[in-house]
């Protein structure tokens, strides 16, 4: 019996052969004592091994085993992270609102300044300074007023408490 035939016998035992081949092997085993012997040996081993690990039990208490898993999960994902994810759309809109407001203020300030220059009233001297992501300043020397718009991230405590201030 060559190696290929030995492997074919095993495939027959494991139900891995197509129907036609399986019939051929069954006929061969019926007339060949050596093939029948090898098939029986392989079958005994397979049957002995199958299910032999079913009685294996974890040699640690439930609490001890779980505590390590729990610690690792907590380390990977701190409590509250999932809840925080639910508000991510709101955070996104809030962040979007800051530059949009700044742009609107620039437009308003430009409009006011333009009116001051063309209206002939006062000196018409105004000044803008825009620092992206930080602050927008509008200063009207004629009116003696300065408007500062702070655009820090909304979760910044200072920005939340005083997002704008008028300076003398």
């Amino acid at each position: 019996m060559n190696y290929e035939e030995q492997l074919k016998l095993q495939s027959f035992l494991d139900g891995e052969l197509p129907e036609g081949d399986a019939r051929e092997v069954a006929a061969w085993v019926a007339r060949d004592k050596q093939a029948a012997g090898l098939l029986a040996e392989l079958r005994h081993t397979r049957e002995a091994v199958a299910g032999s690990d079913q009685a294996v039990r974890l040699p640690e208490s439930r609490e001890f085993y779980w505590s390590k898993i729990q610690r690792e999960i907590a380390r990977l994902e701190p409590a509250g992270t999932r809840e925080a994810r639910a508000f991510s759309l709101w955070d996104y809109l809030r962040r979007l609102a800051v530059p949009a407001t700044a742009l609107a203020l620039v437009a308003i300030a430009g409009f006011v300044a333009n009116r001051g220059l063309t209206g002939g009233g006062g000196t018409g001297v105004t000044e803008f300074s825009v620092s992206v992501g930080e602050a927008l300043t509008y200063r009207d020397y004629a009116a003696g007023a300065t408007l500062v718009w702070l655009s820090y991230p909304a979760d910044n405590e200072v920005a939340q408490n005083s997002s704008s201030a008028t300076l003398p």
Binding site: S11, A48, A50, D53, L58, R62, W66, L76
Partner: protein, 199 residues
């Protein structure tokens, strides 16, 4: 507030709750399947502590990947695949760090299993279940990890040759020859154990 009692909740519902961040639901899944996951790690690694550590790592991975569980197989089967893959990675790492085992050398140097005489007597006949388990356990421990893994995936996980080849990243031919060698070697080892116990 008292903890919810999940003892009568099915796995699918527990997975759903765990996905929402409910660690109590996940703990219930761990309690239900911990023995099977540990047993699979132990059958492949043959070391208590390594099997505990790796099975715990598998549970953490399972938690992280809960959204990938589609319910195509049972939760237990899904978790078993995770622990098998972790064990295979670990065994590959170990193998890179040491020389090949004698069994692997034998396999590569000419297929001793082809010349082994056929054993006419079943070496496990008449054994008590507990004694049989003990002997198989000892015999499995003497196989190389490649041969043991093929045997574990075929006999315990009931995988087909094709699935084993995919899992172990080798050809179907290699799976067949490793399985054949593992079975024949195991038969010899079991016979030796039988002789040992009768003397």
């Amino acid at each position: 507030m008292a903890d919810k009692d999940y003892s009568s909740t099915d796995d699918q519902a527990l997975v759903g709750a765990a996905r929402q961040g409910d660690t109590r639901a996940f703990e219930e899944l761990v309690v239900r399947h911990r023995d099977k996951i540990y047993a699979r790690a132990f059958s492949m690694l043959r070391n208590d502590q390594e099997a505990i550590d790796l099975s715990q790592e598998a549970w953490v991975k399972g938690w992280q990947r809960l959204n990938q569980f589609q319910g195509e197989s049972s939760f237990g089967t899904w978790m078993t695949r995770i622990v098998i893959n972790l064990c295979l990675d670990d065994l590959r790492r170990q193998k890179r760090q040491r020389t090949d085992s004698m069994e692997a050398i034998e396999e590569e140097s000419g297929g001793v299993e082809r010349q082994m005489p056929i054993l006419e007597v079943n070496p496990t006949a008449g054994l008590e279940r507990a004694e049989l388990r003990k002997r198989i356990d000892r015999a499995l421990g003497q196989l190389s990890h490649e041969h043991r893994t093929v045997l574990v995936l075929h006999e315990f996980e009931e995988m087909e040759y094709k699935q084993i080849a995919k899992t172990m990243e080798c050809s179907i031919g290699t799976v067949m020859s490793r399985l054949f060698y593992a079975r024949r070697k195991l038969a010899v080892l079991l016979t030796d154990l039988k002789k040992e116990s009768s003397t």
